[in-house]
């Protein structure tokens, strides 16, 4: 039996990926775009899961990393001629990594609860800077730019149609998932999980906790920045709203709904939340957050494992 479980896992994985590859071919444009968005938000939620689910630190500052990835990509696309996708990607990741290093250095000095608060405060610093530095960031209006081509110089060049974009996003999200899964199963990931289970004991064994936490925050920030770059590519603008703390809160909601510590749970949580918002906003218009909030509280109290919590051990095998 035990030998067959990885087979089941990879079969399921292949089926889901195949469905996602086929989705823009069969779905109407609105829903095809919706699926792409879910993948991007799912990547962001997955990056946050490294902290919440695997290291036991709740980050309320992921909007900062996401936003910096977005603005980093936006600058490069606006400044370079012709705009290069790979330069934008690199710039977005660099900006997010720098922000993550900054936040990690200060906030990992604090115990768990203070960590949540300081990440929130730090993300607000970035928000204020981006909001007030109008010459560079466009302030409240944000930045608008056009999509670069998906090209490798000398080999090929493709225009980003919605379909190509979907496959590009899907490829990056799937690769990120495989990479993150590998990382959480590596010795490094094991140390993170042991920090979550018992910080004092992990320290006593001799692991430099602070350094591990810092790397975890930076890793998480890097993937959040990647999600930001993808979102910038999809929507062709960067706006300060995406750096605001509400987004970080939504990311935490995705995680709790989907099931922390599973990597795929947060993606499912994002899908569930976005579908719920789509459905509820027909009845509640902009007040959909009231029922969503009530449901969230109920899940924290009665179902802390989330939708996929029951499969947590199996998914991490």
């Amino acid at each position: 039996m035990r030998d067959r479980q990885p087979l089941v896992f990879w079969t399921g994985f292949a089926i889901i990926v195949a469905l996602l590859i086929a989705s823009p071919l069969v779905l109407p444009p609105f829903w095809a775009r919706f699926v792409t968005e879910i993948l991007i938000w799912g990547l962001l939620a997955m990056s946050s899961d490294i902290l919440i689910g695997y290291t036991g630190m709740v980050s309320f500052g992921h909007s900062a990393f996401f936003g910096l990835g977005m603005y980093g990509a936006a600058f490069v696309l606006l400044e370079t001629k012709p705009p290069s996708l790979w330069a934008a990607l690199a710039a977005g990741l660099l900006a997010a990594a720098a922000a993550a290093a900054f936040v990690a250095y200060f906030s990992t000095r604090l115990r768990e609860i203070y960590f949540a608060i300081t990440t929130l405060i730090f993300s607000q610093i970035f928000y204020i800077v981006i909001f007030t530095w109008t010459e560079l960031t466009g302030g409240e209006n944000g930045l608008t730019f056009s999509r670069p081509a998906l090209a490798i110089p000398g080999l090929f060049s493709l225009r980003f149609t919605p379909m190509v974009l979907h496959w590009f996003v899907l490829a990056i999200v799937v690769l990120s998932y495989l990479l993150l899964r590998r990382i959480t199963q590596s010795p490094f990931g094991m140390v993170l999980q042991s920090i979550r289970e018992n910080e004092a004991r992990t320290r006593a064994i001799g692991y430099p906790i602070e350094r591990y936490k810092m790397v975890a925050v930076m890793l998480s920030g890097l993937f959040a920045g990647l999600a930001g770059v993808l979102y910038a590519l999809q929507n062709q603008f960067a706006a300060p709203n995406f750096v605001f703390f509400v987004l970080s809160g939504e990311v935490v909601i995705y995680n709790v709904i989907g099931g922390i510590g599973t990597l795929v749970g947060p993606i499912l949580g994002a899908a569930f939340f976005l579908l719920l918002r789509e459905g509820l906003s027909r009845f509640f218009t902009e007040y959909y957050l009231i029922p969503v909030g009530l449901m969230f509280i109920a899940m924290v109290i009665f179902m802390p494992q989330g939708l996929l919590g029951f499969a947590r051990r199996w998914l991490n095998r």
Binding site: T132, G249, Y287, F296
Partner: protein
Amino acid sequence: MQWLHAVPWDLLLIQTINGIVTGMILALVASGLTLIFGIMDVVNFAHGEFLMLGAYIAVLTIVATHNFWLALIIASLGTGLIGALVYVTTLRPLLGRDPLTTILATFGVSLVLQNYALWQFGPVARKIPEPFSGSITLFHLDYSLYRLMIAGLSAAIIGGFWLFLKFGTWGIWIRATTQDRIMAQAMGIPVPWVLAGVFAIGSAMAGASGVLFGPLVGVDHAMGFDWILRAFIVVVVGGMGSLGGSVLAAIFISLLEAYSSLWVSPAQAGIISFVVLILTLLFRPTGLFVATPK
């Protein structure tokens, strides 16, 4: 000595008073937060929403009765009651679980309350009229009496609360519960009621500060967020769970912001508090205004 003349002394004086006034309100908000944290290990994300609810209850009461002081009392009682309800329904089931879950739960509460207010009262800011409009003259500058009264009243509430903790029966119960919850229970202290009471008192303090501050700015559904963020900074800088530390840190940060807003825009002056926070985290992560832990 040329530079002495370049300093705008009269503005500096006004900003000192301004800083102390906002500092006292901030201290009132932060002391409720630090109280709830110190005693219950709950980081209350919804604290700013209680402030906002207090302000809205006051708006409704003033429309009905035209009496500011009655509104202040009703708003405090009302937010205290709502606080107790929130505690019993969402936080009591989480007792004994990871403190991180309380952040998540109160975050949910904050979402619900904020959007409920948006739904009920709409996005347009309401006004609370000042209860009196006199001003006093300080070195040929006029200063609103109401602002001074806010500072005095906040100080009185914090001071009264401190006396209550020190000498009141419930205050002594609260301190006993902080020190050792199980022992307190064994001595016959009704610990569940004490915890609910603490949450109610903290919420009532937030509600009262919302009413007091209402006349200075508009009342809208998002007003809580600005305050909760600054209150969190104050609580971290002052040392989590320390009442005196929070009060000092609140005044310290507000004074710095007030002075710096003489030279930069208010939005940029807000960055000052972040800088203070970063420096605190770098050099004294336990808090600026508490004794060095052994």
